[in-house]
């Protein structure tokens, strides 16, 4: 009999157990199943740990590990510094190998960690309540649109064209079948901010929510307050925020946001090829019963001692079934806890300092690039750590050159915008040194301008 490291049964065990059950052959356990598949699966035979490791190492070598690369690309996933303690603490095995806290008394670790996560999210977003995570930023936006519609029973969402293009796609997929219409709002070509006139003209009786990003996909900081002032009282303002920026920018909750969501990857999570990451989700308290997802609350135990449990479960699928606020069951709890550990480590001072450095590095980079006279400015609006400029040369050639030097250049916006081919979306974080930035600028000098 072949042995497997994760299966403990010896031949003796199997014999004894079959005897207890009263069978002579394992096949008898399957005798009620129609004999439809009788062959062997067309997948490889089992391998040893050494062989599997070799195979995975080989695959990883053919995938560019950015650990030692200078990174100037963001667009939704960011390379920020992850302090050593973050991963070591948050991936402890009693966190990693536990499930949803169905038995609260032996899940206080999970529950308290997620309660602390909710607290931290409320703090940075300026909102009153938060859930314990969504799948990612895109699904958080989509679920926020659905939630707004449950709150005001209206069926049109006005979504800024300047939010992450994939978030718009996700939102369309999520809402179409629920008869919610998505209409896109233009951005101002001059500032890169949402076009307020276009927004005003599209608001009507049926408008449920307005969705903006803060900063937006072009890195530009939207004026939440101005936008909120335009909206009729019943229309909910959904802000998709980049949490690192909230160390510098006013909390959306203080500027009139009704629901604040976002991608949490930059809070101590690795890039992981785009997943798993997690979405955060916060709102005003009065909307709590329409909120999707798991929510943790504080309570007391039989001795009066503080403890934590899942609350408001009557909103959820396992109780409400087809009438639940969402179908979410497994969320991204581990990623949320990673973020919580990260935010505890950096603290309020760290978040402020990181945000400040991101701003400064990106502005230094932008200034130098424009000074090189090889780029034209694109938007006038203020930006945080990401910005769009237009090279006078072929961006792909430049990026190839950079890559040879272990630099990842900007994203070509042509990937998402027909009218923005060869526009560069640059990003800079606390991890970029002045030396790196200066070197990147020196490389610009080596590229010949071309006519388009």
């Amino acid at each position: 009999m072949k042995r497997f490291p994760y299966i403990p049964h010896t031949e003796e065990d199997i014999k004894e157990m079959m005897k207890v059950i009263g069978i002579n052959d394992i096949k008898e356990l399957y005798k009620d199943i129609p004999e439809l598949f009788d062959g062997e699966l067309n997948i490889p035979e089992s391998k040893s740990e050494i062989e599997v490791k070799r195979e995975l190492l080989e695959l990883s070598k053919r995938t560019t590990n950015l650990e030692n690369y200078a990174m100037f690309r963001g667009a939704g996933i960011y390379k920020h510094y992850v302090p050593s303690a973050v991963y070591q603490l948050s991936t402890k095995r009693n966190f990693l190998t536990a499930y949803t806290p169905y038995q609260a008394e032996v899940s206080q670790g999970t529950l308290q960690a997620l309660y602390e996560f909710q607290t931290a999210i409320c703090e940075i977003t300026g909102m009153e309540v938060a859930n314990s995570s969504m799948y990612d930023g895109g699904t958080a936006v989509a679920e926020a649109i659905l939630m707004a519609s449950r709150v005001n029973r209206k069926h049109k969402a006005l979504v800024a064209k300047s939010i992450h293009p994939e978030y718009i796609e996700v939102s369309k997929t999520y809402t179409e079948s629920q008869n919610i219409e998505i209409e896109l709002i233009d951005y101002d070509e001059k500032t890169g901010k949402i076009n307020l006139e276009d927004l005003k003209s599209k608001i009507d009786e049926n408008t449920s929510s307005v969705v903006i990003s803060y900063p937006n996909f072009f890195g530009i900081i939207e004026n939440i307050k101005q936008i909120k002032e335009i909206l009729p009282e019943k229309v909910l303002l959904i802000v998709n925020a980049y949490p690192i920026a909230l160390g510098l920018l006013e909390a959306p909750g203080n500027l009139g946001a009704d629901i604040v969501v976002g991608e949490g990857q930059s809070l101590g999570n690795y890039m992981s090829f785009g997943g798993p990451t997690f979405g955060f989700f916060a709102s005003k308290q009065k909307y709590i019963r329409q909120m999707p997802g798991r929510i943790i609350g504080e309570t007391i135990d039989a001795d009066g001692k503080r403890g934590f449990v899942m609350v408001l479960q009557t909103r959820e699928q396992h109780i409400r079934r087809a009438r639940a606020t969402s179908n979410i069951c497994s969320n991204h709890a581990l990623m949320a806890v990673i973020a919580s550990v990260y935010l505890s480590i950096i603290g309020r001072e760290g978040l402020k300092e990181i945000a400040y450095q991101n701003y400064q590095k990106a502005h230094y980079l932008a200034k130098k690039l424009i000074e090189s006279e090889k780029f034209d400015p694109v938007f006038e609006g203020e930006f945080f750590n990401e910005f769009v400029i237009k090279p006078r040369f072929d961006l792909e050639v430049f990026n190839k050159k950079l890559l040879e030097e272990k630099y990842i250049g900007p994203l070509n916006l042509g990937k998402f915008f027909e009218d923005k081919k060869n526009y560069a979306l640059f990003c800079s974080t606390e991890l970029n040194t002045k030396e790196e930035i200066d070197y990147l600028i020196s490389k610009v000098g080596e590229i010949d301008e071309i006519d388009f």
């Binding site: 067309n42 997948i43 950015l66 190998t97 008394e105 992981s272 001795d303 639940a324 200034k367 930035i437």
Partner: protein, 475 residues
């Protein structure tokens, strides 16, 4: 225990940054958009944080700390190797050029292929982030398919009353009306009842097989035939695939769409409630509806992200799915191989039936016959001693065992759903059997012990009413 926020002391820090090395630019931003008040994140030193999370970790039961027979959730062992392999891919950005992510794409391509083979499906997407997310994906595929075929009258999705709550919720999210079909006295979908609800207005039927009672739907071929005669699609909730790998494939039973839970069957950790991963497989005729992108290979043998899926339902999440969960599942499949996966299923079923047999004398087993990977104790008999299933479960905690799933599926009153999985040894099962009998004895002689339980846990029984009435959702 204090919250980390309550350990705050200004002047402390667990963090450091290099000094800003670029010339400073004045921040030019409308005054109202500048943060006035810092968020109250804690200022603590590193050792404090380390002790804080150590203490939290000690307050969790996990697969690594002890038996966790949580039915329907498949809490099998999560191999150490999986974690190490996943970490190889931490520092990869999703928008790198394709030539720099060939290894990652090859892994995804192979995983798509293996999962297709295991389920008997023709094409697989790895995009969904969890089982329920896979269900939504599948239901949206159904929707697009019926639209394309002009089936304007198809508005309903049928599912059994034993179904997981995510099934009706997902069908509803995709815009369908949900119709529950009753289970018969044998715990299976009642074929006669099924025939009654089956007509041309049905878009899809959602089933898990073996079902949530751990029983195989013996009429599956008949149901599939009926469904297809009415042009309805058959959807397979793969949460229970751990019972049948290499034995029978959903695709061969007549299912058109499946979702899998990599965090169940394929040994990736549940992470306190996620991340999971819920790949979806479909039959050839539905291939063009999958979310985009999908990973493909071209003539030169280069892997690429294929966005050219004309009828695609669209995108279900940003980027390509929970890649590092995929790495774990892939690692597991390579370790186990075809014979290992089949053996895992056999041992999962053997374990469940061994427990069932050993417990049947003293406990009432709902549907007591050969089961698959899980079975259910009907706890109503405990009433006789003045205790409930909940009390029994709480007492298990005192013995260091995570209780089975309780009060699910809804069709068994006072249900206790036991799924040992293949990774538990006979010794561990025997210990569990002993404890079950001991607690039953306690219920008979001193039920107060159960009602008072737990006493050996970090906190005693928690007051849910207070928690829900006086909502306190943040520190």
């Amino acid at each position: 225990m204090k919250l980390i926020f309550e350990k705050d002391k200004s002047g402390r820090t667990a963090f450091s940054l290099p000094k800003l090395d670029v010339p400073e630019t004045k921040i030019e931003l409308e005054e109202e958009l500048l943060r006035k008040k810092e968020p109250s994140l804690p200022q603590v030193h590193e050792l404090e944080i380390v002790r804080h999370y150590n203490e939290l970790e000690r307050k969790n039961h996990s697969v690594d700390s002890g038996f966790y027979p949580l039915g329907s959730c498949t809490m099998k062992y999560n191999p150490m190797l999986n974690e190490e392999m996943a970490n190889l891919f931490n520092n990869i950005h999703p928008y790198l050029e394709e030539e720099h992510i060939q290894g990652a794409l090859e892994l995804m391509y192979n995983l798509q292929k293996y999962l297709g083979e295991i389920t008997g499906m023709d094409a697989v997407t790895l995009q969904p982030a969890a089982g329920a997310h896979g269900e939504l994906t599948g239901m949206l595929i159904v929707r697009k398919y019926i639209e394309d075929n002009g089936y304007t009258n198809k508005t309903k999705v049928i599912l059994p009353d034993s179904a997981h709550g995510t099934n009706p919720a997902s069908a509803k999210m995709a815009g369908f009306d949900v119709v529950e079909v009753k289970s018969g006295p044998d715990g299976r979908v009642d074929l006669e009842e099924f025939k009654k609800v089956m007509d041309d207005s049905v878009a899809a039927i959602m089933l898990t097989n073996p079902n949530t009672l751990g029983l195989f739907e013996k009429d599956i071929l008949e149901m599939a035939k009926l469904a297809h005669e009415h042009n309805a699609l058959l959807y397979y909730d793969g949460a229970n695939l751990n019972a049948i790998m290499g034995k029978v494939r959903p695709g061969d039973m007549g299912f058109d769409i499946v979702h899998l839970n990599l965090h169940k069957t394929f040994s990736t950790p549940h992470g306190m409630g996620g991340p999971g991963s819920g790949p979806v497989g479909v039959k050839e005729k539905l291939k063009d509806y999958l979310p985009k992108p999908i990973v493909d290979i071209n003539e030169e043998g280069k892997y690429y992200l294929n966005y050219n899926i004309p009828k695609s339902i669209g995108r279900l999440r940003t980027f390509y799915g929970n890649f590092s969960v995929m790495v774990r599942a892939y690692t597991y499949i390579l370790m186990m191989g075809k014979e290992g996966l089949k053996f895992a299923s056999e041992m999962a079923v053997l374990n469940a039936n061994y427990l069932r047999k050993k417990l049947e004398k003293e406990f009432k087993i709902a549907y007591n016959e050969i089961c698959k990977h899980e079975f259910i104790i009907d706890g109503t008999f405990l009433k006789e001693y003045g205790v409930k299933t909940l009390d029994f479960a709480k007492r298990l905690l005192d013995y260091g065992i995570h209780p089975p799933t309780i009060y699910f599926p809804l069709i068994v009153h006072e249900a206790m759903m036991i799924e040992p999985t293949e990774t538990e040894s006979k010794e561990e099962l025997d210990h569990f059997i002993d404890v079950m009998h001991k607690i039953l004895e306690e219920a008979k002689t001193n039920p107060e012990i159960l009602k008072e339980a737990p006493v050996n846990t970090p906190v005693r029984r928690l007051n849910e009413t207070v928690a829900n009435k006086q909502l306190k959702l943040r520190g």
